[in-house]
């Protein structure tokens, strides 16, 4: 007991977020880093094993194919990461991708002379607008995010069907300039991959370095404490939903550009893959820890497994089962490592 009274109370105006962080927080950081290294190792091992069986797997063409197939997923997963960090979830991302993809493709068909940057902005604005709906209902309406976004998953998809009226936009209907958005090469790299790399890089930097980025972690670790120390929780959670929506909107434009053929079903079920990528990438579903590049790594791991199955000509029916097993394996390993570390820490503390 005398221990606790011996330490002088810290001055109230000390910048709270700069204080040495408690052991558990540092512990979580360690686990987080272990996670990303772990995924990278798992990825390396997978690539090695498959490459020995089938050298075609590591040809530049195939690697590019894998990265192309996970780019859109990664972009949405980065947005989802921001939301999940705050102890929320956005299940409506697949529907947002769908609305943005159809509206943008339909617009390009109607007015082929529209400058391409404008269509990008249109997609982002559509996504951000739908994100505003989610964010508003969660922060002002005080409805749990899982309920809100389960509802808007339905609503946005329904709106998509109303807009599309059973119509389909084909690749031949839209100008080549629009399709180039995803397929054109810059310095030899497909632009779709560049989009994903830039977004992952900016988000990773922002989450680490920017004040609002750090505050997202604070909200997720302990919402009440964050509010007490003056973190504008409501505004930040709202912002996370808007950015998540905007990124899903961008992903929608890119989806339309990549596949060319778009109907009201585009992006259906994407939310499951996105949440899977985020969870496998080491983002804690209860908020407070995880990184954007971890989520991207998670997406790449899932995409690589999918590609490996097809290149090894394994039964494609196993794909979904394996993806499910990977999600569970990732969180189980996570939990076991955390428990082991905590036990070790407790022992060390007792010895001290």
């Amino acid at each position: 007991m005398p221990d606790s009274t011996a330490t002088a109370p810290e001055p109230l105006d000390a910048p709270v977020l700069d204080r040495p962080r408690p052991r558990t927080a540092r512990l979580l950081d360690v686990v987080g880093r272990v996670r990303e290294v772990g995924i990278a190792l798992a990825l390396g091992l997978l690539v090695l094993v498959v490459a020995i069986q089938e050298p075609r797997f590591v040809r530049p063409g195939n690697i590019e194919e894998i990265l192309l197939s996970v780019s859109i997923l990664s972009i949405v997963a980065v947005g989802q990461t921001l939301v999940v960090l705050t102890r929320n979830i956005d299940l409506s991302v697949g529907s947002i991708v769908g609305v943005s993809a159809f509206v943008c493709a339909d617009t390009m068909r109607g007015s082929p002379d529209l400058p391409i940057p404008l269509i990008l902005i249109l997609g982002i604005l559509i996504g951000a607008g739908l994100g505003v709906v989610n964010g508003f209902l969660v922060t002002v309406g005080r409805v749990p995010a899982i309920v809100v976004t389960l509802g808007t998953l339905y609503i946005f998809r329904g709106v998509d069907f109303v807009i599309a009226e059973g119509d389909q936009v084909n690749a031949a209907d839209v100008p080549d300039g629009f399709l180039d958005l995803a397929t054109a090469r810059v310095l030899g790299i497909p632009s779709l991959i560049l989009f994903a790399v830039v977004i992952v890089a900016v988000a990773s930097y922002g989450l680490r370095r920017w004040r609002s980025g750090r505050e997202l972690y604070a909200i997720g670790s302990n919402p009440d404490a964050a509010r007490l120390v003056g973190v504008p929780s409501g505004r930040l959670v709202f912002g996370a939903f808007v950015i998540c929506g905007a990124l899903a909107g961008l992903a929608g434009v890119l989806w339309a550009a990549r596949f060319g053929t778009v109907d009201a079903r585009a992006g259906s079920g994407l939310e499951l893959a996105v949440v899977a990528a985020v969870v496998v990438g080491g983002v804690n579903i209860f908020g407070g820890s995880g990184t954007a590049y971890g989520a991207a790594l998670g997406a790449i791991l899932l995409g690589t497994i999918e590609n490996a199955l097809s290149i090894l000509k394994l039964n494609p029916f196993w794909l979904q089962a394996i993806q499910g097993a990977v999600i569970i394996a990732a969180v189980t390993v996570d939990a076991l490592i955390t428990r082991r570390l905590q036990r070790a820490l407790r022992k060390a503390r007792r010895r001290a």
Partner: protein, 333 residues
């Protein structure tokens, strides 16, 4: 006892009004809505979701969630079809399908209660895993050769009535679930766990065992839903009941069950279920497509949670205004 306004402020009362309103709307949209045949068919169509919702209600009240129900039902349908296709007797095939459902639930339950993983992530993973296994079992085939008695159970009504057989199954199970949740010590412990799992543990509730039991129950009920669906459509396919989890979760939450656990009633869930069914049916009769119907369902889901929140606030305020009841025969000084 005098009727209090607060009794009318129950969510279930509001659901009854909404259900009546939907019926009025439905009968004004299409004359065929309020016919015995239509209501009988619409009810039969709702029963798989209903059976899954019973198990999910218990799980959510205990503060967890099971997103894998529809995949378990699909896997059960696939196993049933595979076994019948190989000449297994129907009874054994159904037993195997139900056992598979129980094992799926046990898997979920062990990961949640013993390993300590969040049920949202676990059942999201098993949503993919169990559906994948359904495809592994049956490939992209469909089995549609079943013994006559099995498909007649799916197609027919109780002789002399318009009540479909699956509705009988649902009613029996709903009564059982009601008794367990609202009239037994298990039910009280489920609410206690949902309200505060730590406190329940300290007061002697075996939280882990009950949670595992609930996931097993949910898995078995989902497997039964898969069997009923297979009988109704005389078809076992790996993608049976794909995506049903959304309507099931919606029915439970619309019924007034709190997503955070500890609150909600089975009567509310049954009302929520039939509200969704009546809405989808009457909109369908008005030629509104399934996806467009979802706009209404999704809106209703969000509004209902806002509604229950607001109601709870009003009830609490009303409770505070009412003076505390005097302690009768109080001999303390």
């Amino acid at each position: 006892m005098k009727l209090r306004w607060s009794a009318l402020l129950q969510w279930e009362t509001l659901l009854v009004f909404l259900l009546v309103a939907t019926f009025l709307m439905g009968s004004s949209i299409a004359e065929s809505f309020l016919t015995g045949t239509n209501l009988s068919l619409a009810t039969a169509d709702l029963m798989e979701k209903g059976i899954m919702a019973l198990g999910l209600t218990l799980v959510i009240i205990a503060g967890e969630i099971d997103l894998s129900v529809a995949s378990v039902a699909g896997l059960s349908s696939a196993i049933l079809g595979w076994l019948v296709d190989r000449g297994a007797p129907l009874g054994a095939a159904i037993a195997a399908a139900l056992l598979a459902g129980a094992l799926c639930g046990l898997f979920n339950g062990l990961l949640v209660a013993r390993v300590g993983l969040p049920s949202l992530v676990v059942t999201l993973g098993t949503l993919a895993l169990f559906r994948g296994l359904a495809f592994v079992v049956l490939g992209d085939r469909a089995v549609s050769e079943f013994p006559l008695g099995f498909t007649e159970f799916g197609f027919n009504n109780v002789p002399g009535t318009l009540i479909p057989w699956p509705a009988v199954v649902f009613t029996v199970l709903a009564v059982l679930a009601f008794l367990v949740l609202h009239r037994s010590w298990i039910g009280r412990q489920i609410y206690a766990i949902g309200n505060n799992a730590e406190a329940a543990r300290f007061s002697g509730v075996d939280v882990d065992r009950i949670k595992i039991g609930l996931f097993v129950t949910s898995g078995m009920l989902a497997a039964l839903a898969g069997v009923v669906f297979t009988a109704r459509f005389a078809s076992a396919r790996p993608d049976n009941l794909l995506g049903f989890e959304l309507d099931v979760v919606t029915a439970v939450l619309l019924g007034g069950v709190s997503i955070f656990g500890g609150r909600g009633t089975l009567i509310g869930v049954v009302l929520g279920l039939f509200l969704i069914g009546a809405l989808r049916n009457s909109l369908g009769l008005a030629d509104v497509g399934a996806e467009e119907q979802s706009i209404v369902i999704g809106t209703l889901l969000i509004v209902s949670v806002m509604g229950t929140n607001a109601l709870r606030g009003m009830q609490e305020r009303a409770a505070r205004r009412r003076p505390a009841a005097p302690i009768e025969g109080g001999g303390r000084s």
